[in-house]
Symmetry: C2
Subunit: 498 residues, 2 copies
């Protein structure tokens, strides 16, 4: 029986929800299925419903086109079969951007056409912390440049992560074990509320479905349970416009799972998600001698993966990965600003800022993380809380430079001429060049990177002090440009329109 009205009005990219009443029986988690076909003119979408416990079955839908969507359900039980309804989709508000999608091979945009530059951060299990910490995390995010967050469904077992969370995706606890034939719908409702809180702040939820840091058994479930878990997750969450699917963090540390397991899960999500949300899988191992390693990297050539989510400390390789994979390159871990004892968690703020600039000028995107020791062992990288690092305002500064003016789809370029290969340039044809001098300290440069016969305005950007100084003259190819002779300098070169 359909409890909610059979016709709902929503705006584009928001969520319509239909609630069906059935018998209160946990067997529905494993034995009952329902899908609905939504139709709007020639467009068809098949959407899976899910059992929400307590005799409630739910069907959610995110319309991507305006107009009337009629649906009819199919199910293996009579109470959910052949039920009809509709969603009337109105125009989105000005603020509503819709989901992020791939754009121009190497980049992203929102569904409403607005450019999206991923400036991600990482707080793996902020959603498993106390209400107080969650509030702090959301407040920190609100005042930060970050518009994507990597976060896990499952809790994390790892150094600095030994507190027991209150709830899990499955009912149970570590002492008594878990009931993998059910889901804990209170947990899922919390997760949904957290994802909605992110959405309100313009933040994409890069949701990590599996990970290896585990003392509860969630990394070693039977494949049947893994499959049901993925199906359930997608049924509950794909109608959230800000969801991204990250198959795993450091997938190659999940030693029991084979490459064919990941193939199957990726295909499953692709089939189950009617909206084609962004999807990726993130590696652990960064081979020292080669830039990719088939044993440890999932094959990012796969058409089902929308972008390459890479862990690597050397962003020199970004242009190579772009060429190799022909999709956006997102460095979803390049070590974290901080001072803890782990190799991945003690780089300086300057280094983090350098990595962001390097990644962006190489035509990729970089994800932030922070791991400063604290008295209460609340560390941003895992728990969220309060951002303390000095890189955050500088990352905001870089984001403001990218977002200023017209959309910037940077292509990477290195120039050999005059041994200027240390200079990393992101360019948009001849119109705009963003030149990163990084950790070098040249006192001047010959402007070998400019196209011939054209004049440019040049801004000297100090990435650390966050200043932009427009030079009074204009410059041409071959001119000599005096520089501050210190590290962390970028140059913005804008074509003079004649």
């Amino acid at each position: 029986m359909l409890l909610s009205p059979s016709s709902i009005h929503v705006t584009k990219w928001s969520r319509a929800e239909f609630i069906f009443s059935i018998s209160n029986n946990p067997k529905h988690f494993t034995s009952t299925w329902m899908v609905a076909t939504f139709k709007n003119g020639n467009i068809n979408k098949t959407v899976r419903g899910f059992y929400d416990d307590d005799g409630r079955f739910i069907l959610r839908f995110m319309p991507q086109q305006e107009g009337n969507w009629e649906f009819i359900t199919q199910s293996n039980i009579d109470e959910l079969n052949n039920i009809e309804g509709s969603v009337y989709c109105e125009a989105a508000s000005q603020e509503e951007t819709g989901p992020v999608e791939r754009d121009a091979i190497y980049h992203f945009k929102y569904a409403n056409g607005k450019t999206y530059y991923p400036f991600g951060t990482t707080a793996y299990v902020w959603n498993h912390q106390s209400d107080d910490i969650q509030k702090k995390t959301l407040a920190s995010l609100e005042n930060s440049p970050f518009n994507k967050i990597r976060m896990c469904v499952f809790p994390k077992h790892y150094t600095y992560n030994f507190k027991e969370p209150e709830r899990f995706a499955f009912p149970g606890n570590i002492e008594d074990g878990f009931d993998f034939s059910r889901f804990d719908c209170v947990f899922f409702r919390q997760l949904e509320s957290q994802i909605d809180e992110l959405k309100r702040r313009g933040i994409e939820a890069d949701l990590i479905i599996f990970h290896p840091y585990d003392r509860w058994g969630f990394s070693q479930m039977d494949e049947e349970i893994d499959s049901r878990y993925v199906e359930y997750l997608v049924a509950r969450l794909s109608s959230f416009s800000n969801i991204w699917w990250s198959l795993a963090n450091e997938f190659d540390l999940l030693k029991e799972k084979t490459m064919s397991f990941w193939d199957t899960r990726i295909k499953q999500i692709s089939k189950e998600d009617p909206y084609g949300h962004l999807m990726s899988i993130h590696n652990w191992h960064t081979p020292p001698l080669h830039y990719t390693n088939n044993d440890h990297w999932y094959d990012h050539h796969s058409n089902l993966l929308t972008h390459a989510s890479i862990q690597h400390h050397d962003l020199w390789f970004v242009p190579g990965w772009r060429n190799e994979y022909s999709k956006p390159i997102v460095i979803d871990e390049c070590r974290y600003e901080g001072n803890i004892d782990c190799g991945w968690g003690c780089i300086t703020a300057q280094k983090m800022v350098n990595l962001f600039w390097e990644g962006v000028c190489a035509g990729g995107y970089v994800t932030h993380g922070e791991s400063y020791l604290s008295d209460d062992d609340i560390i941003w990288w895992s728990h969220g809380g309060v951002l303390k690092g000095e890189s955050t305002p500088r990352i905001a500064f870089l984001r403001s430079i990218l977002e200023e003016g017209s959309s910037k789809r940077l292509f990477p370029k290195r120039i050999q001429k005059n041994a200027q290969w240390d200079t990393l340039i992101g360019h948009m044809g001849d119109d705009y060049l963003l030149v990163w001098l990084g950790e070098n300290q040249p006192a001047f440069k010959w402007l070998a990177m400019l196209p011939e016969g054209k004049s440019y305005y040049i801004d000297i950007i100090d990435s650390w002090n966050m200043t932009i100084t427009r030079l009074p003259e204009t410059y041409k190819m071959g001119d000599k440009l005096a520089l501050p002779g210190k590290t962390g300098i970028a140059l913005r070169m804008t074509l003079v329109n004649q």
Copy 2:
């Protein structure tokens, strides 16, 4: 006719020189040869003489064993054939170390047994500069930590290097061309005097035989001339105890020369040099995607190469190269401290210091260079002159740490435990560990790198401020060590003898 006495007394590893008078005819450069066989008990050495112009033929010998060495000459002209003589070799003085040779697979020692840690610098054509600059160079070297210098026989044509030198290995000049059938012996005597000046200051001359930076034609001579040039160079210079043969700088930029050319030259030197001086060949290309590249790297596996002379900016690979080549790894260019416009010449002093520590703790050795702009365009990297950089005293500090106490043959080690793979450790078994935290800033470390069941003294070394602070307690494996939480920190761990 032998002009000098037929019997000469010298100390071990110094140079005996016999001068023969023949007709004054430049044809001797191409048509006349003479070799002498030196005998001392069971030891035989075949040594080539050379024409020194003006009717002088010279035979030089560096005895490596004490006692009486008798020789007899062979030649294709009667005046130089069947001449007998002897060298009486006395014990070396305390200060005389003899030539540097390989030791303990990955390291070096002097022939007298003293450990030699290469702390090289680079001033490619200091020997082609004015007398005034040459004096400044020698004075700078005398007060520096550097005990090896990379320098070229031929002058250099390159940015900041456009002045015409006075003399060349061949008589002639750029306007009128060069006579490749002769050698300019005034030039060679100057070169010898320069090498001796280095020797007086305890500096090895890593002599670069070929290089690509050329406007005179020395990089494109016929192979017959190349071969005669190499033979002549070895005949003149192999008796200099501080000579090292560097076949080329950036050999892979000498596009006309094939790999088999280099094979032949390496074999030729190996055959012609009776003393087996150190020999290497140095690459240009540092492939971005692989740590070696067969197209661009000469095969350092060759037994005739005593060490791998590598250009690379990433010393992370040093342990891999050690394993691969089973010989000493000398990073003979990792970019230079400075502020010029070239990618290789604008790193900070901090970065240069970091590279030295990283190389040494990885069980390799690193070569310095400096390229600060100056009003007179005299830049250390090429011309010598005055050292200005801030890395030099810090490199001296590192050298003093290595040279303190017993000989240190460091083996590299990285530890995965507790994610401490960012920590690079050079160790000598359980006795001594030199731990480099590099550009990281951890506030503490778990001492996972110490062998179990042993106690250690720990010194906190600040590589930039050049301080060494001995901690009052001793430490064991698994202890927590508080750290300054800044970059450039090293730890020296010394076994407590019980």
